[in-house]
């Protein structure tokens, strides 16, 4: 039997890797992929607690998280395409139209 907190450590590590990706990368597509990593870490935690409490609710919430991830990926990638058409770049630090 695997203790529940092992899964929580795995979720923490995945979450941190995703946060590092969001904060350090310049490529917007890879930033979006790091957000997917973060959402997966959340899913690991939800399913681990669903197993621990022997309740299905955690898995239902994980399904809603996956729905959100799909919506976010669709809109985000549409934004990236629109952005690339206008500015010919995918670097996050060159997209500074709103900066004073």
């Amino acid at each position: 039997m695997i203790p529940t907190h092992w899964y929580l450590f795995l979720g923490t590590a995945l979450f941190t890797i995703g946060v590092v990706g969001v904060l350090t990368r310049r490529n917007v597509i890879i930033i979006l992929m790091s957000i997917e990593l973060i959402l997966n870490a959340v899913n690991v935690n939800l399913v681990a607690f669903s197993h621990y409490f022997q309740s299905i609710d955690g898995q239902v919430f994980a399904i809603f998280v996956i729905t959100d991830a799909a919506a976010e990926a669709a809109v985000g990638l549409g934004l990236i395409i629109a952005l690339f058409r206008n500015k010919e770049t995918v670097n996050a630090d060159e997209i500074d139209l709103l900066k004073w």
Partner: protein
């Protein structure tokens, strides 16, 4: 002993490929490594008796979202950005901050983990089958959230079409 070995293999593959995702220069390689990560996380779901979620992970994430990512990587011309610096200027600060965050979270879980070990003996798989249980919960207890999620997907679809359209009339 076997579940522990499987857990360590799956989580090791997931973590190593997650690190590869955020360090690769070529975005296509990142997508491929992210697929490896998602498969390993799916294996973790399988170990937790969440078979339906494993299927959703493979079908929707690997089959849907990652193909969308690959499409966009192919559509966007990345030849210029591959030759440029891959990490932003503040990466040292970001790395230190994230590691501090991980240590804090890990320490909290380590201090509190006695609280999670109590109900472990009561673990028994749901008798009716995982997919049936998920379906009952989704369409009976969570009916309104499912409808809200469907509206969210509709809005996202319309938003993606409007964003990617060439010109607004």
């Amino acid at each position: 002993m076997l579940p522990q070995i499987a857990f360590f293999i799956l989580s090791g593959v997931a973590l190593v490929s997650a690190v590869m995702v955020i360090t690769r220069r070529n975005a296509v390689h990142s997508v491929i490594w992210l697929i490896v990560t998602l498969f390993s996380v799916g294996g973790i779901f399988l170990m937790l008796h969440a078979e339906f979620l494993f299927a959703v992970q493979v079908l929707l994430y690997v089959g849907g979202i990652m193909v969308l990512f690959l499409f966009v990587v192919m559509l966007v011309n990345l030849d210029v950005s591959i030759k440029q610096a891959q990490f932003s200027r503040q990466w040292q600060v970001a790395l230190v901050t994230a590691i501090v965050l991980m240590v804090e979270l890990g320490y909290g879980i380590y201090r509190g983990h006695q609280g999670f070990t109590l109900g472990e003996a009561a673990a028994a798989p749901v008798a009716a089958g995982n997919t049936q249980a998920v379906a009952l919960a989704l369409y009976r207890d969570y009916m309104l959230p499912v409808e809200i999620a469907s509206i969210l997907l509709l809005v996202a679809m319309v938003g993606a079409v409007i964003m990617a359209k060439r010109k607004m009339e």
